[in-house]
Symmetry: C2
Subunit: 209 residues, 2 copies
DNA sequence: ACAATAATGTACCGACTGGTAAGTATTCCT
DNA sequence: AGGAATACTTACCAGTCGGTACATTATTGT
């Protein structure tokens, strides 16, 4: 398995003239800014510095390229979500999620918002597969947070009357709303204020000072 | 001014064979489900029951048609937002907004979500104008809520340390997040749970029972 | 040196995009 | 009855979409 993990990297034949990981990064940027359907192949090729046949040879087609960029997104810019689940208390879990989202969604070095939210929210039938893939990603995050909150409830971190499913849905809604706010131009400080507002009312135990 | 309010309705010439308001309603449905760019002219024409030249004669072009459907959207399905501002307390204001959003975003008789959120969140350059128009709509709602919350603070409804701008941004983020949740398949009951979670922690005075 | 293999650049494909020209049909006004 | 005005239908336009055939170039293995 190669370092990039994308293609077995053959030993014979003309070597690839571009770095697949860097090209993916560039493609991610385009999809992030324009969405799956709004990003045209010429857009992608120009950003990636390659021609269409190279793109197709390396990544399959537009759809597969998109799915690979999402993988990259989850491992890089959006790498705050799943690690946050491992924090000691539910308060810290949501704190890291909300603050990570504020930083990532409004990072001036990246497009605003979240590609998993805005990549294919409303689109034509031809993008249905991609749209559902993103829905599944969002739901997976919600399910993971929900079970983490169930654990918190069992530990007495959250009160006995807390509803982990409702709380998880609420937090995911706020995270997704923050992404929309970011695409509307909200900056990191403004998003952090949203995070603060949520945290101020969080029913779980506060970390010790 | 005609009842539909869209075109002066000439007194001479062949009369229009379709109802502009109903056609707009159908166009709204398409834009709502597929977004501005995802909705093609054949899609729109089929739903509206008219041909392209009729569409162009009546509504200008795709962009103007979209903007007119958004106007309709704000006056019909989304008519809960601005009226909610007139409620007596900040609690009731946000309650009506959140519950209205839950009902509208997950209404089985309409496409899921909110067209002002998902109509043009990430798109190609050619849709920049529409995208910015929707951003302006979202911001306008936030500004309106903010000044309503400032009023609430002045009235002692909200505590002295409350930050209306932050609270307004927070509520808008939740509303926009609920729209995303709806497009992911959340039903009305699930969205109402989100609304409940927000209301349970609202810093303003509760209405008298 | 010479196959075998694979990536590259060019040039192309049919389908679809938003938008329109032109001719025809239907109405009102005189 | 006959203009004038407007809407409808058909057919078309250039440009762009995602995707590919083909010939060329660069590398490895023998």
């Amino acid at each position: 398995m190669s370092a990039t993990g994308v293609t077995p990297a053959p030993t014979v034949g003309r070597p690839r003239a571009f770095d697949m990981e860097k090209a993916l990064q560039k493609a991610l940027e385009v999809f992030w800014r324009k969405g799956y359907e709004g990003a045209s192949l010429p857009d992608l090729c120009e950003a990636m510095g390659i021609n269409k046949p190279s793109l197709y040879a390396a990544f399959g087609n537009k759809e597969q390229l998109f799915l690979k960029t999402i993988e990259l997104y989850e491992n890089r810019p959006c790498a705050f979500f799943y690690p946050a689940l491992e924090r000691a208390t539910s308060y810290e879990v949501v704190q890291h999620m909300l603050c990570g989202a504020a930083s990532t969604n409004a990072d001036p070095d990246n497009p605003p918002g979240c590609v998993i939210v805005q990549g294919a929210l409303a689109c034509s039938e031809s993008a249905t597969f991609v749209k559902e893939a993103l829905i599944a990603k969002r739901r997976a995050g919600e399910v993971a947070l929900c079970s983490r909150l169930e654990q918190a409830k069992a530990e007495g971190d959250l009160p006995a009357n807390a509803e982990p499913a409702a709380l998880a849905r609420y937090i995911l809604a706020v995270l997704q709303g923050m992404a929309v706010q970011a695409t509307s131009g909200a900056n990191c400080a403004e998003l952090k204020q949203v995070a603060e507002t949520v945290l101020a009312a969080w029913p779980g135990k506060r970390p010790e000072f």
